[in-house]
Symmetry: C2
Subunit: 453 residues, 2 copies
Amino acid sequence: MLELTKDFLDQLQSNIEAGRDVEIAATVGGLHPKDVADIFDALKREEILYVYRLLESELKSEVIAELEEDVREELLSSLSSKEIAEDVIEGLDSDDAADALADLPEAKLEEAMRMVDDQETASEVRELLSYEDGTAGALMAVELIKVEEDWTVARAIREIRAQASDVENIYTIYVVDDLGTLNGRLSLKSLLLNASSARSLLKDLKDDDELVSIEAHESEEVVVKLMERYDLVALPVVDAQGKLLGRITIDDAVDVIIEDAERDYQLASGISEDVEGKDSVWALTRARLPWLLIGLGGGIGGAYVIGAFDIENNPELALFIPLIAAMGGNVGVQSSAIVVQGLASANVNMGNLATRLLKELSVGLVNGLICSAIIFLASVLLGFGWMLSSTVSASLLCVIVFAALFGAFVPLMLDKRNIDPALATGPFITTANDIMGLIIYFSMGSLIASLMA
Amino acid sequence: MLELTKDFLDQLQSNIEAGRDVEIAATVGGLHPKDVADIFDALKREEILYVYRLLESELKSEVIAELEEDVREELLSSLSSKEIAEDVIEGLDSDDAADALADLPEAKLEEAMRMVDDQETASEVRELLSYEDGTAGALMAVELIKVEEDWTVARAIREIRAQASDVENIYTIYVVDDLGTLNGRLSLKSLLLNASSARSLLKDLKDDDELVSIEAHESEEVVVKLMERYDLVALPVVDAQGKLLGRITIDDAVDVIIEDAERDYQLASGISEDVEGKDSVWALTRARLPWLLIGLGGGIGGAYVIGAFDIENNPELALFIPLIAAMGGNVGVQSSAIVVQGLASANVNMGNLATRLLKELSVGLVNGLICSAIIFLASVLLGFGWMLSSTVSASLLCVIVFAALFGAFVPLMLDKRNIDPALATGPFITTANDIMGLIIYFSMGSLIASLMA
């Protein structure tokens, strides 16, 4: 892996400035496309364009496939329609081309499409662009190896040789009937092992056990679940009639897995847009502000709850406000996280709502009893007095049980209504539990005070 | 994908009770091993064993590879050494076998090893078991296709046919020299395309560009980064001398990616052990209690901070305690999450500590200024008075800036000391920021009160 040091970049930038093209081509030209993409990530716009135009045609395409979305969009906007036709539409696999072109202005896209020599390629890419983002169709590539079940082994090997130049990794050979309907698969291995029986028909060799495929309109979450569950490196995509349209390869599924995981993590941490540490201060601020505003609203709500109570005559209750708020928040985040993860990986039935909530109730009760016992003892021993200690201890138990139930209930409800349950995690649950915790705490305080009076 | 309904399970369980073996074998025998594993997950111990013994030998092995760790451990403890020798050691790929055997008692493992017919297989598995958990060596399988660079295409095809029966998915053929040192690879595709030139030497066909490999002692995090970065479906593993030992396939890397993501998510949510919704109440409680105890400690600390201040004479300050605590916590979680994600995916240099903190300072300042302006206006408009409004507003700014810096600093520091930065997220940062927020808030309160006095 290339270590992208400051020295390396400085040297490269001074070479660009001095126009030492041969040297630049020699340094960058021999690198892995992903490494070149990382270098571009660190260069300025005009420097990227300068280096890009020094690359060999094949590397150009490969680098475009690897670039971060924002860098790629910038680069593409600087390229001519001719360059886009050659380096992107013709140079890339159909799925990578469609990805790269997704944000290109319509007019420029049309012009580039017209400049493509092989109009079949252009229309394939155009078709991929028509699938909605986040579906299996948008993830698939049309490049694959397809054979008909009535062919002999000898003919199949000839046809595969002809098709293979378009397909970088073969993985699986798909077997279709004369209507193009997917009905089996063949591994290169079995073809190699049977190459001697050249006259056998593919229908006798093909494997149609456990043939997993997906319809193009299904979501990428289903793609990922199927590929993970059945350890697939390629998943064939079909239309409603079962006709083979394309295939999704594992590298694209891995990208989806990683993006989803990052997104859930960010939502749970109160970050509402996809940002990285290297993004601008403004982008980072914008991604973080929405949740802070919710927190502000919650804080003002909390002030009203406390204000509604006679705090002036019971100022010692203030001491444990942070404890009650923090514990409600922590417990709520814990139980919502378990539910969100369970929903995300749900190969198994999560059980019905009542069962789940009953379990949360049990966990909440056990944790609540342990914590309230500890806080009661600690508080008495530290000299906070019987009344305050019992108020804190009793309300902590209620807060923990409530927060556990609420934290589990909200994502389960959202999921039932087909809203992404991860939206409910982090700050939202925390804020709601903060306020509810304060209401419980001060009601308990009033109750115990009136009982003692 | 099998829908595991209650009806299906009820039917199966009554079949087991009535001993309707033929029916059980017919229902379960035709399923995908992963589906059978899910069924086992829902059955009782003796039921699992009953169904298992009705399966065909190949399916037995495949199901063992797919089982959840706890179910598998239970099943293996009920099997005889002979069954373990046949179904696990001989029946599985070496990496899956080593995984399954990892927790077996030493004596039983030894006995099973002795019962294996092919002692070479036994010693391969034994060797895999010797690699430390979490290393490339522990993830790899020894089954692969290996050819020597001095062979001709014709000989290679013969040898590959012989080797192929052991290898489920070939992906890549590895080329070695006469010492076994990895020095190139060959795709099945290029072999197929060159099958006609039977006398060519492999050294002229092999591809040694960008050959990525990993040493056995490297960590699985490096495995995942390499495979993701270079879109690999198989990664060859070598020893310190470059000798080819095995290969890691993408399905195993995907498992590591998903496990890591779940772990980070759980740590950020305050869950300290790997649990799932279906685990026992006690397991769920135990996983959640440690962080709640930290929260309790923080809450008691908070009580001391508030107690140290003259709250009786300024009870209105209590109103905004929840706001200050919540905002400190939220901001800290946000900035630590961005740092943790950046460190996890760091293909690019994160920049030095000072640069990172300077950026967090800027983001914190912008967010802090916006939030403190809003809270000042809201608080004045809602009639909370000038003094309280300025105290809340000024301290909120300080709290946000401090929390942003602290949230970024802690994981960066941990990472420098080679401690997993994800440990610092969630409750730990929240609790520390709660207390610090209170100290800032009440100090500011005292300061403003004394200025106004």
